[in-house]
Subunit: 275 residues, 2 copies
């Protein structure tokens, strides 16, 4: 092992999961959560108690392909074989949770605080026919034969940049954030609405990238864009909703099942594959 590798004493795990069976990412007493399952598996592998840090606190029902979790390691643990640890973690985790890859990072690295960008994707199936393969990871708008994707994409442009997204935050969370003197400003790097064909099925896809997100933010953005795509609101309404800084000005919260945390960015070179 190189010197550089031995100095890297944080274990970073890329995980995916299907959200329907979990009460979200964060641990809650008596509930089945992603971090709970992962912690249990890691405690068996490392034979000690562990505390995990995650890039995104996804809600109950939200899926992930590229969620990241980090854990500081102790001296001899850095010598473990990544391949063997990976095999053990796969064997110790349930079918709806996937340990996708293991990385090493410097001591002090945090999957949460070192993340520079989070990528979310939301899938929508339109029309009378029930989605098949996308059933458990798309929002089925059965009474909506189609959405005006171009209008949704235009409406979304005003969201890009640094803004106060209080209108797109769960009201109780926004209140708590204000009470703590923290900010509801976030930087949205990109929003893209497109018509896709995934595994043979037509889907409308909303991709949102940002430095960080407020509680329910992507789902309220999607719920608002669907108001535009369905013709119930016009394109300029989304900007008015943003400017209002009031949850009541935006659209409904789209269901969790359509949302997926696709990936997280970290500074170049921060993560080394752990073989």
């Amino acid at each position: 092992m190189t010197d550089a590798a031995t100095r890297r004493s944080t274990l970073v795990i890329m995980v995916g999961y299907r959200g329907e069976g979990f009460s979200g990412m964060a641990e809650q007493p008596g509930r089945r959560t992603v971090l709970g399952e992962l912690r249990r598996a890691l405690e068996v592998v490392l034979r000690r108690e562990v505390e995990l840090d995650a890039a995104g606190r996804t809600d109950a029902g939200v899926h992930a392909l590229g969620q990241y979790v980090s854990l500081p390691l102790r001296g001899p643990e850095c010598q473990l074989s990544g391949r063997r640890m990976h095999a053990s973690l796969v064997a110790l985790t349930p079918d709806d949770l996937s340990v996708r890859a293991l990385y090493r990072a410097e001591a002090g690295f945090s999957a949460r605080f070192d993340a520079t960008s989070r990528h979310y994707r939301y899938r929508i199936a339109c029309g009378a026919a029930r989605p098949v393969m996308a059933w458990d990871h798309a929002w089925w708008l059965r009474s909506q034969p189609r959405l005006d994707v171009a209008a949704m994409d235009r409406a979304a442009r005003c969201l890009v940049g640094e803004h106060d997204f209080a209108s797109f935050c769960k009201a109780s969370s926004a209140q708590l954030i204000r009470h703590d003197g923290r900010s509801t400003c976030r930087n949205v790097q990109r929003v893209r609405v497109s018509q896709d064909n995934e595994a043979g099925e037509p889907l409308v896809t909303v991709e949102v990238d940002g430095n960080a997100f407020l509680h329910n933010m992507v789902r309220i953005v999607v719920g608002s864009l669907v108001e535009v795509g369905s013709g119930r609101r016009d394109v300029s309404w989304v900007r008015a909703a943003l400017d209002a800084c009031d949850r009541r000005a935006a659209g409904p919260t789209a269901p969790a099942r359509g949302l997926c945390l696709e990936g997280v960015d970290y500074p170049a070179g921060a993560l080394l594959p752990w073989d």
Copy 2:
């Protein structure tokens, strides 16, 4: 309604389903099957007993996006609103079955006998990490870090054309076919093996198109191609297996969960959308 439409007195339904909850397509007493669920729904809508004909007899666990089912209609039934009938069928069918579209065809049309081509897709996930979104519709080869896709594609070429596929047919079915004096020859129109990225996950995809298929044929083709892709057999072995006309010469039967009936072709103009 046009004269042409009224002469079209066969209802054709395009259906999709996730296979894990069904004991296959064909009805079996006491089992949950796709045709059983569909028949029950149609009998409520049409208020009479119906008998259905299907393009492909998919096995237990096999999925479909473009399966076709046909049903001769009686006089006044031809006047029904397709849109309303579609909504009723969607409401009367379970979550893992999708009534995707309704068509009209001429009297005497059969979803089974008028089909000119069937398109199947098989998905394989390689490597230690459990597939996430593809979990229920891919074969997970966990101890196989990668497959030689180019070798698999080359090995598959000898299958294209009219051949006796007895080696790629469930042994008991081949015996029955021979006993009945029928043929195990089929015409494979295309086989393509490729490395795909679907919904964010890397998958090896095997697409097979043919006029018709023997029992387990696509799954044995895939099982054999994986022998080549994993390096256990060389490219020429698939042709030797084909020539042997003996099930024991081919590879194992790949699991049902990776297989999907993607679509079926009918002569141009045979199906008219039913609005």
